[in-house]
């Protein structure tokens, strides 16, 4: 149906075949444009990254005391330096993820969602590409400033493998986090207020995702619960991989991330299809 009919009506001289390259090119362009947009305000960008300094300073004081009190050089297999580098990565991910749920619900509520739906791209993928553009810069800034600070505090970072493995896992983290944001954002089609969901999600990430404390320090039962929930694989997964970059761990993190991506992503897709089918655009 689609290409035959569209083709017949298409303007002469332009064949529309929707090649994979053209489709990928769209989202790449969205990503690029968002990068340019974020770069339009370098001071803002820097400001966002300064927050990590404060976090690392608090964590350093907290954990130095804790390690001092136990008298051990390592807790649950992590030295103070490991813990600090873990937290740096965890915070870098946490502070760079782009909260799309807010953008989403705003756009659903004020109707601007419509003005993205009248273009030939997928609304969800558009937002993901744009969000990635935004996250990448923030992440780079956080890493740069965060590493400098932590290096001064506890010495050199993990080896190159840690950076590469964690970097790869972080991309999947953003994807997974994006799916949750999309889910929260899409709920704006049904309920007026999405803040409650956002709040709950944030708290799950903070407590069970490993933002404030490596999950290894939890009692076994809580560890089991956390590791069987998706939140750990957004933050803990890549951060732990960063300080212990083994191939086994990498495989495990990827596997967990992919499973949860399939589950949550699938739900988002189904809901999105249904939401669009009964779309009501506000105002104007």
């Amino acid at each position: 149906m689609r290409s035959r009919e569209a083709g017949a009506l298409a303007v002469e001289g332009r064949v529309r075949e929707h090649s994979a390259a053209a489709v990928a090119g769209k989202y790449w362009a969205v990503f690029r444009t968002q990068l340019l947009n974020s770069l339009a305000y370098p001071i803002d960008l820097l400001g966002r990254s300064l927050l990590i300094v404060l976090f690392m300073w608090i964590f350093m004081n907290l954990w130095r005391v804790t390690y001092g009190a136990t008298g051990e050089s390592s807790i649950a297999g992590l030295t103070l330096a490991d813990t600090m580098w873990y937290l740096m990565m965890a915070e870098a991910v946490m502070l760079s993820k782009h909260d799309l749920s807010e953008t989403f619900s705003e756009q659903v509520k004020d109707g601007s969602v419509a003005y993205l739906l009248n273009k030939p791209f997928n609304f969800i993928l558009y937002h993901f590409a744009a969000g990635l553009g935004d996250s990448l810069l923030a992440f780079a800034g956080n890493l740069l400033i965060g590493s400098a600070v932590v290096w001064l505090m506890v010495g050199p970072p993990p080896g190159i493998a840690g950076w590469i493995f964690a970097g790869a896992a972080v991309v999947l983290s953003w994807l997974l986090d994006f799916c949750f944001s999309a889910l929260i954002g899409l709920s704006a089609f049904v309920v007026e207020e999405t803040n409650a969901f956002r709040w709950i999600y944030q708290k799950f990430l903070l407590l069970l995702g490993g933002v404030l404390i490596p999950l290894d320090f939890f009692p076994t039962w809580l560890q089991t619960i956390s590791l069987n929930l998706p939140f750990a694989w957004i933050i803990y997964g890549p951060a732990r991989l960063f300080v212990e970059p083994s191939l086994t761990r990498l495989g495990h993190v990827f596997l967990q991330q992919c499973i949860w991506l399939a589950v949550v992503g699938g739900i988002v897709w189904v809901i999105y299809r249904r939401a669009v089918a009964r779309l009501v655009i506000n105002g104007g």
Binding site: R2, E5, A6, L9, A10, V11, R14, R16, H18, A22, G25, K26, W28, A29, V30, R32, T33, L36, N37, A40, Y41, G111, S112, A114, Y115, L117, N118, K119, P120, F121, E192, A277, R278, L279, V280, I281, G284
Partner: protein, 328 residues
């Protein structure tokens, strides 16, 4: 085949009603009550390929709702519509390649970036190859006189400049049909005129059909041959702009001044006296009821004329008269 064909289109919004305060909020959560708003009630019309069709109506008439349905971003509650052979809400993405849209109240250009960046983005989104895109941008930049503006961040452009860039952006992919929802909103007279001229030129050059909504009768008068007037979601008038004028511009207003004092009981048969002063008068009559000739000779007979002005109602007045009639 018409470019746009709409049959008995309807859209009813369900709006959650909520009483004020916390108690109201809680009650609405528990048992939401809905209020339906019939934004569009059984519209039917057609637009030919390459036609410039005006769509006007007061606030809340359902113009934007209709345009949104036609772009496929809103599902109607009933009725049928096809745009270039597509059912918009079922084939939104395919259709998107062939239509362009501008919503005057919702800019599409990235605010902090130069317009040309959005142009390149749209080029990718519409899957236009790089060299064609380059040529297209230069062509549109010239047609819309925006060559000097393309590299400036959009936030630094004036509203009129920005709107020309918006419309140019919507034409990058050579759409067959352009849907413009209040493109002239907020523009001054000169900027409006400039925008109208470019829209007209693109219509002549590329034969792009334009469905245009506006509050400004001038937009319709200068651009469109045909006009549809809607009120409360229904079509209250549809015809050529020229016959609209012919049919409704029959009421003349006459201002006269005399060199001598007028009789205090001055009047003419079939003419409504709006105001009678000592040296002049203002009156109104409908040429379909009272012919022009006896009125003029009556005026000449009443004394030594110093000055006469005969004026017609503006299209604006005509349209308000049509609205008023449909309110009754």
């Amino acid at each position: 085949m018409p470019a746009i064909s709409v049959r008995n289109l309807r859209k009813t919004f369900q709006m959650k009603r909520k009483a004020a305060g916390l108690r109201g909020s809680l009650r609405a959560l528990w048992r939401p009550s809905y209020q339906s708003i019939e934004a569009v009630r059984g519209l039917s019309f057609e637009m030919e390929d390459g036609e410039l069709l005006g769509f006007i109506g007061p606030n809340g008439a359902g113009k934007s709702t209709t345009i949104k349905i036609l772009t496929g971003i809103l599902h109607p509650s009933g009725g049928e519509a096809t745009v270039l052979g597509h059912v918009p809400w079922q084939q939104r993405q395919d259709l998107a390649f062939q239509i362009g849209s501008v919503f005057g109240q919702r800019p599409q250009l990235w605010y902090h970036l130069p317009a040309v960046d959005t142009f390149y983005l749209f080029g990718k989104i519409y899957e236009i190859d790089d060299s064609s895109l380059q040529r297209r941008i230069s062509f549109l930049a010239e047609a819309f006189e925006i060559e000097e503006l393309l590299e400036t961040p959009v936030r630094k452009l004036s509203l009129g400049q920005r709107m020309r860039c918006e419309v140019a952006a919507s034409l990058l992919h050579r759409p067959r049909v352009l849907l413009l929802d209040e493109p002239s909103i907020g523009l001054d007279v000169v900027a409006k005129q400039r925008l109208r001229m470019t829209i007209q030129r693109m219509n002549e050059l590329e034969g792009v059909g334009v469905l245009l909504t506006s509050h400004d009768a001038g937009d319709i008068e200068t651009l469109c041959r045909r006009v549809i007037i809607v009120n409360h979601g229904e079509i209250v008038y549809r015809d050529k702009v020229s016959s609209l004028k012919r049919r409704y511009l029959t009421v003349k207003t006459v201002d006269v001044r005399y060199n001598e004092q007028l009789a205090p009981d001055f009047s003419l048969p079939g003419v409504e006296m709006v105001k009678v002063g000592r040296y002049g008068a203002k009156m109104r009559f409908d040429t379909r009821v009272t012919p022009v000739e006896p009125v003029i000779s009556g005026l000449a007979a009443a004394g030594s004329l110093a000055d006469v002005t005969v004026s017609e109602p503006s299209l604006e007045d005509v349209i308000s008269a049509i609205y008023a009639r449909t309110e009754a």
